[in-house]
């Protein structure tokens, strides 16, 4: 591998991005969408500035005091420092296979599989990297938050087996076709999926019972014989 001056968030060649979108028109480049939104924001700011100038001149002509200049606003457009592509669920498998197998892309290394809970929607995230070309991208797939299901990629990259189990454990995303989908970090009887934004922790029953018995022991009030732990 040649030493490179890759930007911190990674690099994906624009010509390959164009090829990907040509092959799959449904795929959306998040950074490009953000760029368009930013341009629209700047156009709007210019328009506002122009209107303000007109008002100033009108006020001058009518002899009134000049109006206040408009407040400077920061654009609320997200920054995508890592090349990010939004892929609909219908073509997701096809896109992943294409990215892995096409010689120009050769994204043979899957860094991680995860998800983001946006409260109103959910996105599955995948980070792919090429050991051959050293380019990388993030793939984001919107899924139904109430019933998150997505096809597995563990047959394409073995490493996805554990990552998908982790995401299932912490987010409740069901990976269809996964060979062994069960909890990995938490215990099998755990309730809920902790990384979801609406998760509320509840002590398990045995812990509540244990605490009750200990508390009564400390306070000297013995529970009835039949209830002792």
């Amino acid at each position: 591998m040649t030493p490179s001056r890759n930007p911190a968030g990674g690099f994906f060649p624009p010509e390959l991005a164009a090829r990907l979108r040509e092959r799959f028109p449904q795929v959306r480049d998040a950074a490009e969408a953000a760029r368009e939104a930013l341009e629209a924001f700047e156009r709007e700011q210019e328009e506002r500035q122009r209107r303000y100038q007109e008002e100033v001149e009108r006020a001058k002509a009518e002899g009134k005091p000049a109006p206040r200049p408009p407040r400077k606003e920061e654009p609320a457009v997200p920054r995508y420092r890592t090349p990010t592509f939004e892929v609909p669920r219908e073509v997701f498998r096809e896109v992943m296979e294409f990215l892995r197998d096409d010689p120009a892309f050769r994204m043979d290394y899957l860094s991680f599989v995860s998800a983001i809970d946006w409260k109103d929607r959910m996105e599955c995230t995948y980070h792919l990297w090429s050991t051959v070309h050293n380019h990388e991208l993030l793939v984001k797939v919107p899924v139904d938050r109430d019933n998150p299901r997505i096809p597995t990629v563990s047959d394409l990259w073995r490493t996805a087996e554990w990552h998908e189990r982790e995401t299932y454990d912490l987010f409740g995303v069901v990976y269809e076709g996964h060979p062994d989908l069960r909890r990995i970090l938490l215990t099998e009887d755990w309730k809920g999926h902790p990384l979801r934004k609406d998760y509320v922790y509840e002590d398990p029953d045995w812990l509540v019972e244990l605490a009750r018995v200990r508390q009564s022991e400390i306070s000297g009030v013995q529970p009835p014989l039949g209830e002792r732990g």
Partner: protein
């Protein structure tokens, strides 16, 4: 002759076992003495660092990353969080601070590899290695303590630099240590590299091919011992790494011995990096002015990586513009390397479990997070 009835035996190893270096349980399926399958059972140290990070600001998250993840490479964890936050928020970092960070991360790598070498030595019955490695590691701990005040958990890096400048005389002490350590490294080689017992236990054992390493997402010394020439310090340079000259050690055998050699070579390269940084380091500020402690990171997403002693440590940071991140995904190198272990172990004898498990150098706090 009546044939004997045979069946597979499931051996439970851990969660309390001296050779698992943490709380790991292995379910080993044995056919006689041969390993059929290994299923690691993890999660005993799970503390949901990712969830906790969503409720803390970025300065607090530095301390959390320091403690909650890989406790043998605390400074590299701090850098992982910082790299993501600084990239997304465009925080400037003074040149001197970049060099100081590089020096400390490499010292951390030395300390981590030394601990690995010592404990791996004990795993394989070489007690001397442990005593020697601990002796050198203590000197690194002293260097840490003199600057950061901490030995394991430092919280030394800050948004836009480091907490404070190096104390007077520190660079000379560090340089002295590096020259001393290079001699010691030759001693380790004399002790272990040509040792017939060491070679018999590690050579050809637990082979992971290059294709398997890529498929399992193996990283760090494990991937480099399998012939994958890849180091985040070269492929995505950060801090001072594009300004110093160093080599990525690569071996193609993919066995435990190759993993040992990669780490030994890495220690030499790390020492070279430290010496070069000490020579090149400019004077000046160590912390960018006007970076608030409760920095608001603009909305957006970024995935950045750093090279931890165990491999590619990635952070996917999602911000909605607040003081706390919306979502932090930590891609832990030990997690993927432990998954690759299931493939490495297949077909080896029960006595090789310890040799193979020790060679991938996992930290369970990093696996479970």
């Amino acid at each position: 002759m009546r044939s004997l009835r045979t069946e597979e035996l499931i051996l439970n190893m851990g969660p309390q076992h001296p050779s698992t270096h943490g709380v790991l349980r292995l379910l080993v399926t044995l056919d006689g003495e041969n390993i059929v399958e290994v299923q690691p059972d993890i999660g005993y140290l799970h503390s949901s660092v990712e969830k906790m990070m969503e409720h803390r600001n970025y300065t607090q998250n530095i301390a959390l990353a320091d403690r909650g993840m890989d406790y043998l490479a605390a400074l590299v964890n701090e850098m992982a969080i910082l790299r993501a936050a600084e990239t997304l928020a465009d925080v400037p970092v003074p040149e001197r601070a970049r060099y100081i960070r590089t020096i400390f991360m490499e010292l951390q790598r030395l300390a981590s590899h030394l601990l690995w070498l010592g404990t791996y030595g004990i795993d394989l019955g070489a007690f001397t290695a442990f005593l020697w490695c601990m002796r050198e590691r203590e000197l690194i701990m002293d260097l840490f303590e003199a600057t950061t005040g901490g030995r394991l958990h430092h919280v030394y890096f800050r948004l836009g630099g480091v907490n404070e400048d190096l104390p007077p005389g520190w660079t000379d002490r560090c340089r002295e240590f590096c020259h001393y350590f290079l001699n010691r490294l030759d001693e380790y080689h004399r002790l272990l590299t040509g040792n017939p017992i060491w070679q018999a236990r590690t050579q050809g054992v637990g082979v992971l091919t290059r294709e398997q390493a890529i498929a399992f997402g193996a990283c760090g010394p494990v991937a480099r011992a399998s012939g994958l020439q890849w180091d985040v310090r070269k492929s995505h340079p950060y801090e001072g790494y594009d300004r110093v000259d160093f080599r990525i050690p690569v071996y193609t055998e993919g066995d435990c011995y190759a993993r040992y050699l990669v780490r030994m070579d890495e220690m030499r390269e790390s020492t070279r990096i430290i010496l070069q940084c000490l020579d090149q380091m400019p004077d000046g500020e160590v912390r960018a002015p006007r970076v608030p402690l409760n920095l608001k990171v603009p909305p957006g997403e970024v995935y950045t990586r750093v090279e931890s002693p165990r491999g590619d440590l990635g952070v996917h940071l999602v911000s909605t513009g607040g003081e706390t991140p919306w979502r932090v995904k930590i891609r832990a190198p030990s997690f993927v390397n432990l998954h690759a272990l299931t493939e490495m172990m297949k077909g080896w004898k029960v006595a090789d479990i310890i040799a193979i498990l020790g060679s991938i150098d996992i930290v369970l706090a990093d696996v479970d997070r």
